[in-house]
Symmetry: C2
Subunit: 611 residues, 2 copies
């Protein structure tokens, strides 16, 4: 008890010291949770600081990432970082950034700072523990009360009960005050508890500054069976420094030197003790099945198949070859065709229902614990999770996203279901790879390549069947492109991908009959884009290019190709971009492609405009 009190004071003091030194940061948000974390660190957390990647380590996520001075103070108390390093908080080049960042700190599994993402990622980690690695580690998530307004948290509550994640413990630091004033529910612990219970959780209300009560609550949480637990801890923002306790206007403000001195004195003065953390049991993850040789599906040239179907077929093959592969879907697996993987490997498939944010966050949780993860939904619906995708990149996570039903070519279901901004959105993710196959054999090869790539990858698939033009086994390197039609007399080059590649081929046939030869380039790797092929095409055609895509005009293939011309001198360039500009409607795919100005007829017109 007395040790806890001492430790809590040290954590508060260190949170104050480092933020005051930095001149910015969130000391009061750290101080409210210090008692909760003191008891956790010294009694309940099982963690090998010498081996942060140990598979049976408990996981601790600061979902309220702005409270990271407290997290860093815990690292110091555990002996993982020095006091000198602690005082580098927020300096350029320091590992101790304004919000926790796993790019630089090995004890941080995932980046936080965009609220409402810690618990959803924790669900993925707890799924890994219960169903994949089959290890008894616990996932602890420190939650702020403001972030309980984020719907993403309720997606997590729902999935955690569905998957019976009894080793997932949410610790709600209910300090009543958000950034700009009181939260919606204030100190209404009963309300938070009722919400959690209605979502199938066990909830425990407690005084978050009563060390014995905290101890009892953790013990009770660990005794839960088949239910996750939420601790609703009533706390005081700024606890420990009476001048700021429970006062509005102190969010995200460091104390000045005098205030810091006063606060530290009130907390009993600086101290620097070390706490020993319990080690996890030495347990090994469940052994996955043996890898089988890769046997990708093969499709006969001249036939036709939807690339989404080829993706499903390929994922089954890749799943046999890569026993660490798991797949998730947002209740549309019979459309994305991830259901084929589910049928083949039911134990390695996780249904996230219609909760795209959770889909991505659970993927991140599984990914950072070493799983190879594919997640699918309609391309349009990944827009629901762009914040999670952005943060996944900041978490250094490798996840493979597959978006089906791209573009106007989906037809009758209409624009709400059409992925038309997915290329723009996925290109603008740091370090991402964006692939867009046009036929079934190409899809199979790219699915296999994708699951081996680091970072955030995105594969765009098409609803409708498309002609099979490449023989099985052809290679399509990421970052490359394929010249499908070429001659020494090409007057214009058409760069296309996916459905528009087939429109370009139709245009090629038709123009050839009129004596006009065009080059046709398949830009299946939208990012990284092949720079050399467009340059060569420009040189060969006196700069006459048409880029055509089933996507909005901005940010997609057209912009990627233009980008390939930056960074080098170009003498003579005349690019026509064909893309979707006006809101499409419902109808037959062919009519919609024409109305959008991206079918063979429109390509022919564009080619002729350049002659």
């Amino acid at each position: 008890m007395n040790d806890w009190k001492e430790l809590a004071a040290q954590l508060r003091i260190d949170s104050i010291r480092c933020t005051t030194r930095a001149g910015s940061g969130h000391p009061t948000s750290a101080m409210s949770a210090a008692d909760l974390m003191a008891v956790l660190l010294s009694k309940y957390l099982r963690y090998d600081w010498a081996d942060p990647a140990a598979p049976n380590n408990d996981r601790l996520i600061f979902s309220k990432g702005h409270a990271c001075p407290l997290l860093y103070a815990m690292y110091k108390a555990a002996g993982a970082i020095t006091d000198d390093e602690l005082t580098t908080l927020r300096e350029f080049g320091s590992r101790l950034q304004g919000h926790p960042n796993p790019h630089v700190l090995p004890y941080v599994d995932v980046a936080t700072g965009s609220l409402g993402q810690g618990l959803p990622i924790g669900v993925g980690m707890a799924i890994n523990g219960r169903y994949v690695d089959k290890l008894p580690y616990r996932t602890w998530v420190l939650l702020g009360d403001s972030e309980m307004a984020e719907g993403s948290n309720w997606e997590a509550f729902d999935k955690a009960q569905y998957y019976k994640l009894d080793r997932l413990i949410g610790i709600l630091d209910m300090n009543r005050l958000g950034q700009r004033g009181p939260t919606d529910l204030g100190w209404d612990a009963a309300d938070y508890a009722a919400r959690a219970r209605s979502f199938g959780w066990r909830a425990i209300e407690l005084d978050g500054h009563d060390l014995e009560a905290i101890d009892r609550a953790y013990a009770e949480a660990l005794a839960a069976k088949d239910k996750p637990t939420l601790l609703v801890a009533k706390t005081i923002k700024g606890k420990g420094y009476s001048a700021v306790e429970n006062k509005d206007g102190w969010h995200g403000k460091a104390f000045d030197e005098d205030q810091a001195r006063e606060a530290i004195a009130e907390l009993g003065g600086e101290r620097s003790s070390t706490v020993s953390t319990a080690r996890p049991e030495a347990a090994r993850p469940a052994v996955p099945p043996d890898a089988k040789p890769l046997e990708l599906p093969a499709y006969k040239v001249g036939g036709e198949e939807a690339t989404r179907k080829a993706y499903g077929d390929a994922l089954v093959a890749v799943g046999a070859h890569r026993p660490d592969l798991v797949a998730l879907d947002g209740e549309v697996s019979n459309s994305t065709h991830t259901d084929e993987f589910k049928k083949a490997y039911p134990d390695r498939f996780f249904e996230m229902f219609i909760a795209e944010q959770q889909l991505v966050s659970a993927s991140v949780g599984l990914a950072v614990l070493g799983k190879r993860v594919v997640a699918s939904t309609f391309a349009a619906f990944f827009t629901r999770a762009l914040d999670q995708i952005r943060m996944a990149s900041l978490s250094n996570a490798t996840i493979h996203l597959v978006g089906s039903h791209c573009g106007v070519s989906i037809g009758q279901d209409g624009p709400s279901q059409m992925g038309l901004e997915d290329l723009a959105m996925m290109r603008a993710v740091c370090g991402s790879t964006v692939l867009y196959p046009c036929d079934a054999n190409q899809t199979a090869v790219l699915v296999d390549a994708m699951v081996d790539l680091p970072g955030i990858t995105f594969l765009r698939t098409t609803r409708e069947k498309t002609p099979i033009i490449y023989p099985p086994g052809e290679q399509f390197p990421v970052g490359g492109s394929r010249v499908v039609k070429r001659s020494d007399e090409d007057q214009v080059a058409v760069i296309a991908a996916g459905v528009t590649l087939h429109e370009a081929l139709k245009a090629h046939e038709s123009l050839k009959s009129e004596g006009v030869l065009i080059r046709v380039v398949d830009a299946y790797s939208v990012k990284p884009i092949d720079r050399e092929t467009p340059h060569q095409a420009a040189r060969d055609t006196d700069g006459r290019l048409v880029v055509v895509e089933d996507h909005w005009f901005e940010g997609g293939l057209g912009d990627a190709v233009l980008d390939a011309f930056a960074g080098a001198r170009i003498d003579g360039l005349d690019v026509v971009k064909l893309a979707v500009r006006d809101m499409p409607g419902s109808g037959e795919p062919a009519k919609l492609l024409h109305a959008a100005g991206i079918d063979a007829d429109c390509i022919i017109k564009a080619v002729k405009s350049l002659l």
Copy 2:
């Protein structure tokens, strides 16, 4: 009672007829809700079909947009559309698209089809009724059970109780079956009801095929005071056609001709009666205050101010001039500076707490009912709501989004808080406008211009203070750019915006002292981008351009400028794009700008590389 039964049969039959004729669609999802809608249409809905925009009309949102055959059948029963039109469902050019689309149908207020958006928009509509227009209309939202997994719905539940929206009624069509099988909660009405109650709603469980029970439930819902109501209606998917009732595998499938004949026979045969809808009371919206003359804030050239602060100041001025303007924020109004508007016009400000999806959806609900809406949060956090923004454009809504804290220049808080993909994301919204001011006076002018623009607009503001370089009152037309430095001897043109414009000016000074003259262009209108100025710059500098932005490399200003060179022949172009390529950290803004390669030093280096 008998009339209801007849009407419900007609609604089912018409849902079957039009989908069978189209060969696709969702008849079974329509059939489960037909009884609920029959009672609503003939007794409770108050709507003037001759005047869909009448301010006191009830609002009806099919959040489960795929059930729209039922909605269209209701339109027919109400006499708003003909049976001939009904049978054009899903045809190219028909107003009856695969999901409801207000671009073409005046009775549809907002587009649905991306699940979990109807109720959040309904919250905005109900806020408008209770707090802005002060009208007694009701907002009815038909919800699917699958979409209850979307966190966005729980953001809506939370805000609806907070704002005491007792004229908001959710009708949950709990038919147990989603697209690919059973839903998470199945027919567990008590669970849904408990969740709603824990979020402060009244919940009523009922048999959704018992017409009297439906009648009673609606009556009870209307008697609610200060609480929204959720009807949890147990229904059967495909109800009315025994061959498919409650069977998996019938989602999104039209019946074939034989099945349709059989189903219609089972339902008692085709009929075509018309139901008269109750008219709303003739009530007028509350009269807003008188408009005052516009007096934009003015800042002295040579001083400095953050553009986010100038936005807040300008919004107060614009708010006086435009009494129909309302503002919303996601619990960061003291950072975005929308709090200045809140202080000036507390009745016209709505706090959405940390729920960015709800922030955008409530904005849409207010906007489609005629309000001029500005919504703000950190630029980075609008990524949380891209799906809602995309759908807002499909809803033909005009909303003005203001994203603060863009780019690495925010400094110490680190990458989780940096808007680095916002330009890419907002450019890729159909019909959007994207503005990015560099100084306070320019910001004020652009805020005023923005609130008059149609569609989705986005204004990007900067955390740090920037120098004031433009006198008050200068004009900055949308779609234009400003040449800040030019001479007849310019060797290179630098195109910049926001913080990088000031870096470009520093580079200009430094290079000038070395005898190198550069043009500096302020591209404050990122979309539409000014095409002529870059072309002129290219002609004047032998094609030597540097584009520099505080944004990821993809999809932002650099791509927009390159885009300006598509569609016309260019002879000689050498563009260097400077943008953020690697994951930034925390630190002083100046250090982060340098590390990202976008400060004056880096611009100078890029300019020299072109000489």
